[in-house]
Symmetry: D2
Subunit: 304 residues, 4 copies
């Protein structure tokens, strides 16, 4: 595997100023650069230049960036994507601020994913010499890093196959209508790192974002985030609770434009030999929200 | 103040065996005695004989026991109750297993409350000589103690006045339709100890139980309880979340008969000079569920 | 019982400015008033005027203030103290900034304790109308309130008897050389509220302070405090760990003058009928530091 | 990178029965097989056959097993090890119970490391179909998995170079006598997964074990482990505390034979492009024990 992680989420927002209150004041990301109609932010424990790009106008994903370990592999990924039969194009250094050359892929679900190996490294807030455990001057939730995205796809089987065959991701968990050959795939959680998921997709319209997530340290940070959402009047969708799928703990909430975010903590470790877990549709509510075992209408229908 | 704490909750259940799976196997209370159609249980950190009585047949409260510090005060409480204008009667040693003489009061809301000073002390599970921090052989959630009850009353003002004037309780928090003289009381949280509430009442039908609660050590125990509710297929109402009122963290859930229970952790300390907090009706949802700021229909309507 | 709680700790410090960095910037107390050579501070969840007084010059306790519920009881406490045989004197409104009339007692251990019922109430940081769960602008650890003190006494039996007979405190836990009549008392933890201790004393020189403590919400706040002690270069004595005695979790640390502080979370609830726990000297290390079961020289010898 | 993780720790113990009380009853590992003088155990969230082998007679490491993703890479690792100049030998299926063919390497520090790609997968305790979040019947601490080892080496530079050049590990953190070219390496923490360390070495005698570690979910599990160590009279070395290096939270303790174990939770995520952190010797105590910033003699000198 050469894909290392979700590097950036580039998303549309209806109002930049309002969004900054959310992403900076409540979540605690730092603004690292601005372009007309765009703001670039990073979280405190990320060493790359930025991890979130907000672009004014509309809602939903513009694209996702996944960072690969070796630039030498980009061409190979491009070939495999072409063989798979999706659109690809080269991206050049500077197409994305601070990001080097890369390859742009259109998923079978119409989402755009950019692969790149080079991005300016500006360092974490605690540095690399005798660092403190965390920055003394955190703002709001003080999210340390982005973690994963969940997108929707009309044909989740195709997207899963794409991530598996082209990008060497593996499935940690799958939801099927019934176990065995006859079951239809309703969702798949896939990893390229040792986390339970670096991307996930569930059945739904192409091109849509269900949510993107920030990683928090633990369950007590989840509560603290929830408290801040109350204080800052952030719209909360579900949580705090635990997921059955991934075992992580979570709160889902919305940015002011209606894009769903998540704070996520915990979850098991995956490895390339991880035995994929299967959830059956009758246990789906427990898989999604382990404690309450109920799905609300909003969670399953609101997408951007 | 001589009333020390909620000593016991005596509640009806439709099926004793099924209830024991809940109160013993899931919650971890120990069965300490049985009578025909009745089971007596205690939690591990309680030193009195029992704290929960399950009585087969129906649902809802039979009565609540509040333990007072000095038996000499029982007569005084009786007089004050009579002056207040509610029904009272003497109860004798043996009326309740292991409980001494006392006074039985009928609240303006028709709930029965027993006051008593003597009950057999059988000790906690960790004992009084070089005790461990908790018992090595806890079952399930392993609740350490009961904490409070929430009941409904057609006239919450009368019940609040009763607890204030007769039993020396004080209000920690009150929900009113609007602040000031013109507001109507929708709920009151009252304390006799240093906790945010030893009893609470909200507007509703007389004689009904909204829930009774167990105290857990902290937010991480709340999650562990929620996990066990999932494993044991306990019906969860709301949570985990935080309350605005009391600041405590919580999960509401149902016993197999439909009586609502709560696990509760945290909350501030109260003292006799505590300045009562006021919540206005427009902020009620935040007061009840601080993080999600939504009330579900079930939470506000299901009573036993 | 009419004594409600530890109301203030008045302590000497060698340097006020340096102390403020500790008590304000690291611990997060707010400066509420200043007098020449004195600073008054409060913690965010306290509603009285102040809870810590720092007085420049030397180290150690000037005096402790315990707040009583009813001013009518002050005279009674004074009489009982005189009958016990200790020095008492009246204190007048204004002797202590914002504090009303009261009684000053000299313990058998030479510590000075002031009892008072009236003090200006300036409110908590979150207020009494639809309050948030905690203040959005906490500084450093953000301690919510003071909790207890531990002092040393040549004759702990006399001090325990004083707090029991004069002030109606009860012992939650006692350390003795051996159980039974022949054992000598090495330490006693006593309560007037529902906490495990509102004051404690161990055998040692008269008039000395071992530590005074702040209450934190839970074990995760203990870690966060420890992190901040590292960042702010606060000298840590012991912890994080759990106590056997009280079951609380803890870090001991020093202010810049060498006065020992504690952050403390958890612990069981006490009530007037609480069965006193006995620790024997051979298990003392486990009683003090449950996890490591070792006492360091510094912890047992450094007093101010 | 093809090395995935620490697969097993094979260690000597003086007494098997006593060791089982520790590794099974206190830590909660399950015995999965026995051979004369040997016991094989696994933790509940591991899917391979076993992760700890206890061999009666003496103390200290017999060997470590690191599992690689592709058996095709074993030969390559063997060649690179030979080129590096260390002893290697082939190991055959059955040399280690349930483990397939592999390569045995002797580190420059004389420790034996086995690489293998095949081992019988017996599954986790929660399974792969609609799994619960954790097993309902955990024993003691209930460790989910092993995490890393710390070994000592006379020449840490050589061992670091070996893990870098032969096994494709990377350094997350390094402790040096002074920053820059002139500094001597005192310790190195290296990763092949996304954790802060899969192995670490500090300057010391060759062939010795400092500790091996179990991963726990979070800081609250660290406390729970510490409580159980007190109840089961496990000898605790240091903790609970936080590490500066790795940011993880920790308790060090000893098995009955004197081998040091650790429970470890948290820590940041590493990736192949992780910028190595440097600690200077003057900040070493803070790097090791962030909160107390003191090293005890036992921690730095006791090895097995």
């Amino acid at each position: 595997m050469s894909v290392m992680r979700l590097g950036y989420v580039h998303t549309r927002v209806t109002d930049l100023a309002e969004s900054l209150k959310h992403y900076h004041e409540t979540l605690g990301m730092q603004v690292v650069a601005e372009e007309p109609g765009k703001v670039f932010l990073k979280a405190w424990d990320e060493y790359d230049h930025h991890s979130v790009v907000l672009e004014e106008g509309g809602v939903g994903l513009v694209k996702l960036g996944y960072k690969v370990e070796r630039s030498a592999d980009l061409e190979d990924y491009e070939k495999r994507a072409q063989q798979f039969g999706v659109l690809t194009e080269r991206m050049s250094k500077g197409d994305n601020l601070a990001v080097g050359d890369g390859v742009r892929l259109v998923l079978p679900s119409d989402h755009v994913v950019e692969l790149y190996a080079d991005v300016e490294q500006t360092g974490t807030a605690t540095g690399v010499l005798n660092p403190e455990a965390w920055p003394r001057d955190l703002v709001g939730v003080g999210v340390p890093r982005i973690d994963h995205t969940l997108i929707t796809a009309e044909d989740p089987v195709a997207v899963e196959r794409f991530f598996s065959e082209v990008l060497d991701f593996r499935a940690s968990e799958r939801v099927v209508t019934e176990p065995g050959e006859d079951g239809d795939l309703l969702g798949s959680w896939m990893f390229c790192s040792n986390t339970p998921h670096d991307i996930a997709f569930i059945k739904g319209p192409n091109g849509k974002l269900h949510h993107f997530a920030y990683q928090l340290a633990d369950w007590s940070e989840i509560l603290r985030a929830g408290d801040l959402f109350a204080m800052d009047d952030v719209s909360v969708d579900v949580g705090p609770t635990r997921h059955g799928i991934t075992r992580g703990t979570t709160i889902y909430f919305f940015d002011p434009s209606g894009n769903r975010n998540e704070v996520f903590a915990g979850g098991y470790m995956t490895f390339p030999d991880f035995p994929t877990i299967t959830w059956t549709a009758d246990e789906l509510a427990k898989g999604i929200f382990y404690i309450g075992r109920e799905l609300n209408e909003r969670f399953t229908s609101v997408l951007t």
